[in-house]
Amino acid sequence: MNATVAQLTARSLLGRRRALLLLALAGVILVLAVISRLLAGKDAEVTVVILGGFALGTLVPLLGLIAGTGAIGPEIDDGSIVYLLSKPLGRPSIVLSKLVVAIGVVVALAVLPTLVAGLVLSGTSDRLAVGYALAALVAGIAYCALFLALAVITRHAVVVGLLYALIWESLVGNLVPGAQALSIQQWALALTEKVVGARSEELGITSAVGLGTAVPLLLVVVIGFTWYAGWRLRSLRLTDAE
């Protein structure tokens, strides 16, 4: 972990306009929560729809994609990564610093808003707020690690990431039960299911995988992709072939 790499990453990731846009994205869920609470009152099912469908299903993967790819992709594209690579720094430490910044962004703009929205929607009842916030946290970490590695591997990381989040997790995941087993969202949901406990099935919080499978898979994705990104960065080709 290198503080200077993290600072440079944070500055480019949170350029003035982008920070505002990301804040607006986070604001949407809070506004939704407030409106829903005012109109429908304290309703666990509405909470599940908003936190499960919007927060965990859309906000977290989207911010994970923006922060994960944005932490390193633009620097690779414009060549400015050379200023980090031409230093006596271990490549894994560069990747780790960038990952920490990306996770920080997701925590601030997706995980905390999820927690606050949960509390606004249904307070502490059924531990829904905490359950979904925890799921958002682990999913956020996994998405960041996955998309950061993708940005090191391919210049089309945003497209590939969108395909994964939209096509695989949302579409294929909903139609083909087997595909759900390979979905970060489902792994994270296993955590919510555990935290909410007995009422989870009644509320429709059911993950395609058990916690015993989800945790190792999450660890494999986070550690595996972070390690792989560091390894790939060691042989990153900076030249456009003449």
């Binding site: 200077t4 440079l8 620097e75 031409s86 030249t239």
Partner: protein, 311 residues
């Protein structure tokens, strides 16, 4: 004092050979890497800087392999050709960040010194995004100098600089070479290289075409056979008069633009031929309409050098 050694280095991208069996030693002083665009200069510099693995052969700095060796950057300063930098930060913050990334004991002092060296202290607090091309180039230089490296690699450093900045950078590189640093810069302009490089390495089409001092390179370039395209009142008569003289080795009747006929002459002795041609024309009573060099582009000079090397 540091020495970069390239030992039978090749690099190919798929089917394209960018650098072909190049061996060279770059020692202290200023070395110019000269060659036309696409000659493989950037590929070579990327391999010297450890950013690209040679497909075969080795690149070493003082005996240490540079590829996948992060420690090497304590001794190398790199000025990349591409302009991408962290536009949202100021010049000062960026150079300071570079000093910190090198874990220098006093990064502020190092950053200040580097910015002074490139004369950027006046505008150091402006965001990089607001800099002109020349200013960006100088900030890039400052980041490469911040850790006071014995080896400096610069990829087309004069691109986009105005004449004053160019002179300033030339002075800077020259003084660094004189101080015993190993400075290598690439350029496709002979005059640039001539003015500051004590030694020149010429690359053409991925090959190492020639090396030596600029006088040697100049001599190789002026002593090569020169080609001319000549239009006259009577091409056939002029052709026979030229071939009768020893200053040309071949004369060809060719068709140039708009089906105009002309002569293509290969002169063996550049200075003798340009003196003799008007005399021949006058003696034969042939009016010359046009005499133009057919191969004065840098590429043709380079390709002469490379074919000469491989003969």
């Amino acid at each position: 004092m540091s020495t970069l050694v390239l030992d039978t280095v090749s690099r190919w991208f798929g089917n394209v050979v960018a650098v072909n069996d190049v061996s060279m030693t770059i020692g202290p002083g200023v070395t110019g890497l000269l060659g036309p665009n696409g000659a493989g200069k950037s590929t070579l510099i990327h391999m010297m800087g450890g950013f690209l693995a040679p497909s075969s052969g080795t690149v070493t700095l003082d005996g240490e392999v540079v590829w996948r060796n992060e420690g090497i950057y304590r001794r190398i300063g790199l000025v990349p050709e591409r302009e991408g930098m962290y536009d949202a930060v100021s010049g000062w913050r960026f150079v300071l960040a570079n000093a910190k990334l090198h874990r220098l004991p006093d990064p502020e002092a190092a950053a200040r010194r580097a910015l002074q060296t490139v004369e950027m202290t006046d505008v150091q607090d402006r965001e990089i995004g607001a800099y002109s091309k020349g200013m960006k180039q100088r900030v890039k230089m400052a980041t490469a100098l911040v850790h006071d490296p014995p080896v400096l690699l610069l990829d087309e450093p004069f691109n986009g600089m105005d004449p004053r900045q160019r002179l300033q950078l030339m002075g800077l590189l020259r003084s660094m070479g004189e101080a015993g640093r190993t400075v290598l810069f690439s350029s496709h302009i002979l005059e640039e290289v001539e003015q500051i490089a004590g030694s020149i390495q010429v690359m053409v089409a991925g090959r190492h075409a020639a090396s030596g001092g600029f006088r040697e390179i100049r001599r190789l370039m002026t002593e090569r056979p020169h080609q001319y395209t000549i239009r006259s009142a009577d091409d056939r008569a002029l052709a026979s008069a030229i071939i009768a003289d020893a200053s040309a080795s071949s004369v060809q009747l060719v068709t140039i633009r708009d089906s105009t006929r002309a002569l293509h002459v290969e002169a063996t002795d550049f200075s003798a031929f340009v003196r003799v041609l008007p005399q021949i024309a006058r003696r034969s009573g042939i009016r010359l309409y046009e005499v133009s060099p057919a191969d004065e582009s840098l590429e043709s000079v380079f390709s002469y050098l490379v074919t000469r090397e491989t003969r």
